[in-house]
């Protein structure tokens, strides 16, 4: 109980300092939440370079929009929301770039190659599970956005259903149903991927 109160007090102080534009507070925020943000983003993007890039963007966004943080949720929940939104924004942008890629030679843009890397190997997966996890990540990408968010936050980030519901701004039962449907869909997708 005391620990929770202390954490809340520290968080309040941190938010006040961040709103003042304090650099040390920002450094503390980055060092305490970098793994959280990076892992969340990595789960969605399935590319380490992109994840590192988007993580940097997220922290800049957090610093620039801290004045909009009203304290309705915890700072961590708020950061999770920004991470999820930014990840999907990035994926949409990438998809758009790929769709209109044929136009880039006309305008002479030197964009990065849009060829997607086929297999993603999460660095936190044990060697004996690498192939299976890679297949699972491939299947996760085919899920609807809401199911992806719920499933990844629960399975990769290790958030409880309650915490996921706070991040997604939805009810506990909605998260339960999303994860249940995600599992059903994943079984179907995997069947197709394995030609079973």
């Amino acid at each position: 109980m005391l620990d929770l109160e202390f954490k809340q007090m520290v968080e309040k102080e941190l938010i006040i300092e961040l709103k003042r534009g304090d650099e040390a507070a920002f450094q503390a925020l980055v060092s305490s939440r970098q793994t959280l943000v990076y892992n969340t983003v990595l789960g969605f993007l399935q590319n380490q370079e992109d994840a590192e890039d988007v993580t940097q963007d997220i922290f800049i966004k957090v610093f620039e929009s801290i004045h909009q943080f009203k304290g309705d949720s915890t700072l961590t929940t708020w950061i999770y929301r920004i991470a999820v939104t930014s990840s999907f924004e990035f994926l949409r942008r990438k998809k758009r770039k790929k769709r209109f890629g044929f136009m880039s030679p006309l305008f002479g843009e030197q964009n990065e190659p849009t060829i997607e890397i086929a297999d993603f190997f999460h660095p936190g997966i044990a060697l004996d599970q690498r192939e299976n996890a890679s297949m699972l990540f491939k299947a996760i990408k085919k899920l609807p956005e809401n199911q992806q968010i719920a499933f990844l936050l629960n399975k990769v980030e290790g958030l409880s259903y309650q915490e996921v519901s706070k991040v997604m701004n939805t009810s506990f039962s909605a998260v339960e149903s999303l994860i249940h449907r995600a599992k059903i869909n994943l079984r179907e997708i995997l069947k197709n991927l394995y030609n079973l």
Partner: protein, 107 residues
């Protein structure tokens, strides 16, 4: 049975997932990017303006605007000239009259 097992195995492959660590220089990179963003605001504007495409576009726009104003000016001038024509004719006529009368008057 075997296929079901395979799928369940795959679904459980994230069970003991460890957290991935970002680059140890993440904060430095974020700070660098923030400084670059501040500095490059003007650069971005300049870069979007000064490209071969945009220079060509701006040149075309300038030529079109110039052409529009030039044609308007020519029209205005010709309209003015048309208006001034009868006055000029009358003026010339009037100014020529004294000579004509002097010439016409018998000595």
């Amino acid at each position: 049975m075997n296929s079901k097992n395979t799928i369940e195995e795959v679904l459980q492959s994230l069970e003991n997932i460890q957290r991935a660590e970002p680059s140890p220089f993440l904060y430095t990179r974020i700070k660098g990017r923030m400084i670059r963003n501040e500095k490059s605001l003007l650069n971005i504007i300049l870069h979007t303006i000064i490209t071969p495409k945009s220079v060509l576009c701006i040149t075309c726009i300038v030529i079109i605007i110039n052409g529009y104003f030039l044609s308007n000016k020519i029209k205005e001038q010709s309209a003015l000239a048309e208006k001034a024509q009868p006055i000029a004719v009358e003026y010339v006529h009037q100014s020529l009259n004294p000579y004509e009368t002097t010439n016409d008057s018998p000595q």
